[in-house]
Amino acid sequence: MSGMQRLIVVVAGIALLGLFSFSAPAMMNDYFVRILTVMCINAMLVVSMGLANGFTGVFSLGHVGFVGVGAYVSGVLSLSASAKASYLPDLPAWIAGLHLSFLSSTIVAGLVCVVLAFLVGAPLMRLSGHFVSVATLGFLIIVNVVLINADDYTRGARTFTGVPLQTTFPWAMGWLLLALVVLARIVYSPKGRAWRAVREDTIAAQAIGIDVLPTRLSAFVIGAFFAGAGGSLYGHYLGSFSPAGFYFAYTFSLISMLVIGGMQSMTGAVVGVIIVSILSELLRNLERGFDLGVVGATDSFRCTARIDPPAARSDAGDVPGVLSQCHHLVEHAETAHCMVRIRDQPVAAHLVARKGLRIDEHHVEPATRQGPGRSAAGRAGTDDEDVAALGQIGESAIHRARGGFGHRPIKAPAPPDAAGRPSATPRSRRRP
């Protein structure tokens, strides 16, 4: 069983790397362990994605939908009761009283995704070719719309925060191992051969007595369990996330990992994750400063964020939160030379006045023209995207200062805002 053996070698390699990284110097150690943790989570997601996409030939673009559902379900379940009371006051009583451990909330997240995958897959797995891709893409969009609009459970498009940071490297590695063992047992069994038979030739498979729908559905549902569990791990790794994080960008990056490694092999999926993760880390460091003679980028790789007038936000109560994010952002912007683009004069003035913070560039832009067709053309929700963008810049600034090579140390993280709530950005870490 050479497939199995290759898989064992690759996984042993990651585990060794993990062990090795614990002996590295403290700062490097922190950096490597974080990369390895994300790598393990992504490997679990990519391998489970490969189940339907690679082995069964049903190219689903909806896998990240399950990841998002998993992250939110486990996030809601593992928030402490007091955090729930302050973040999600409108939760139904029976959920508000629930407080599960990390492990059990992860399992529940996986099971919820199993049920969801069964309901969604039962009709969708009848489709084939690109139609299944387009339909599962529809599923991804539906999940995103529901996450954004189910305010009571998810805080809508705003950052869902306060999830305990419990995904350590051993947890992620353990879940990856479990996923690989379970999936390898299935893939290299008669069931797995049925999957591949359906992929290679649906009609021939039917002719030898393989029922196509249950075969495809089983791959989809099993994949969804590990997607949900992986989503929970990811959520507990990030600590704060928003629906925008579980959308096309993440789908693309998982797909590229799957394709680069080879869609029809579990070893390939893991190797693909390793290659893409290492490449993106290397490129990230390159991005920080290099000179090609003709094109040069300096240390001050510029980021932009837009801050729309707070008054335009649907939820006026969130203004202090946005302001505290601004403060935080600018604090990091000073160390990381971000360019901050602020659209609102009062906010800009407020930021400049604060503690003599110096903002080198601030553009005050006029509000964009509001034609009557604008809302009909479906361009709502830009303010939410801006908040997400803010979060990312904060994250990358933290990352650069903490994990990067040879960067100036960062100041103390931003203090909690007036409401006594920790601001979202310092808790969150770099996205993979």
Partner: protein
């Protein structure tokens, strides 16, 4: 405000939005018809067209010339993408084509971010296009851009209709959509037909992108993605691969979206996109050939 006027206003909005969807969906459907590929990069031709117009305007070209140049740049980008990315994998399994187009999307959008940054750029319009018309004491409002959208779509569709029914290349394209192998056998230059199809489809997308940018007032690298997804729905409602189907699907979808927002209670209307995609899934399951296309037997 009287109900009739309110409905009339919504119909104006629906036609304006539906025109954009139809423009994008037709291109998507044409490419699918000939190559059997779902071209995710199609939406990015909107972005390319809009940015092309923006750049040409900065080069002090008149607005009309800039728009035409933008359409041309969109068409050129489509042809280029076909030549560089799609032709080498032509004939590969469906999923390979789909993945290639996803990769092209990713590359084009990141190229857009690299050149124009990820924040939205203002899309300048000449004075005369910025005006709005008001009828019945302002109960019905529409802008010059709404009018232009509908008019330009009608012109483009008329030209396309003439092209695919009256010219050799157009007829050849339809033949290739019917059966590419047979078209090749009877001596049609399939490569040339595909290039023309991509040029037309991408030019339409470029026009749609310019109109979209004019309505929204801004251009940004990710602007093509949402309309692309909607165009998928429109094309599938009408029958994926059929030009007339895409046209009808586009207008139906535009009407549906506008009416969901206009007439359903505010608890439901935020779920507009979810409703639209549930409709998509419903069509795929129960009427996979859409409203117009006759069902085809599966070839073994």
């Amino acid at each position: 405000m009287s109900t009739e006027l309110y409905i009339a206003q919504q119909i104006i909005n629906a036609v304006s939005l539906g025109s954009l969807y139809a423009l994008v969906a037709i291109g998507l459907s044409m490419i699918f018809g000939i190559l059997r590929m779902t071209n995710f990069a199609h939406g990015d031709m909107m972005m390319v067209g809009a940015f092309g117009t923006l750049v040409l305007q900065f080069m002090n070209l008149g607005f009309g010339w800039a728009v035409m140049g933008g359409i041309g740049i969109g068409a050129l980008a489509g042809v280029l993408v076909e030549r560089v990315a799609y032709r080498p994998v032509r004939g590969a399994p469906e999923v390979t084509l789909l993945l290639t187009s996803l990769a092209v999307t990713y590359i084009l959008e990141n190229l857009g971010i690299l050149i124009f940054t990820s924040s939205a750029q203002n899309f300048p319009l000449p004075e005369w296009m910025d005006s709005a018309f008001q009828l019945f004491d302002g109960q019905i409002t529409f802008t010059q851009i709404n009018l232009m959208t509908v008019a330009l779509t009608a012109v483009a569709l008329g030209a396309l209709g003439w092209f695919v029914t009256r010219t050799d290349i157009g007829l050849g394209m339809r033949a290739a959509a019917e059966d590419m192998g047979a078209a090749n056998l009877v001596g049609l230059d399939v490569n040339r037909l595909i290039v023309v199809a991509f040029a037309i489809a991408s030019g339409f997308a470029g026009l749609a992108g310019i109109l979209w940018a004019a309505q929204a007032g801004v251009v940004e690298p990710h602007m093509g993605f949402t309309p692309l997804l909607k165009a998928f729905v429109a094309a599938i409602i009408g029958g994926f691969g059929s030009i007339a189907g895409a046209l009808i699907g586009g207008y139906l979808l535009g009407a549906l979206e506008v009416f969901i927002v206009a007439f359903l209670p505010s608890e439901i209307s935020p779920y507009r996109d979810a409703i639209v995609f549930i409709l998509l899934i419903g069509f795929l399951l129960f009427r996979p050939n859409g409203l117009l296309k006759r069902s085809q037997e599966v070839k073994l």
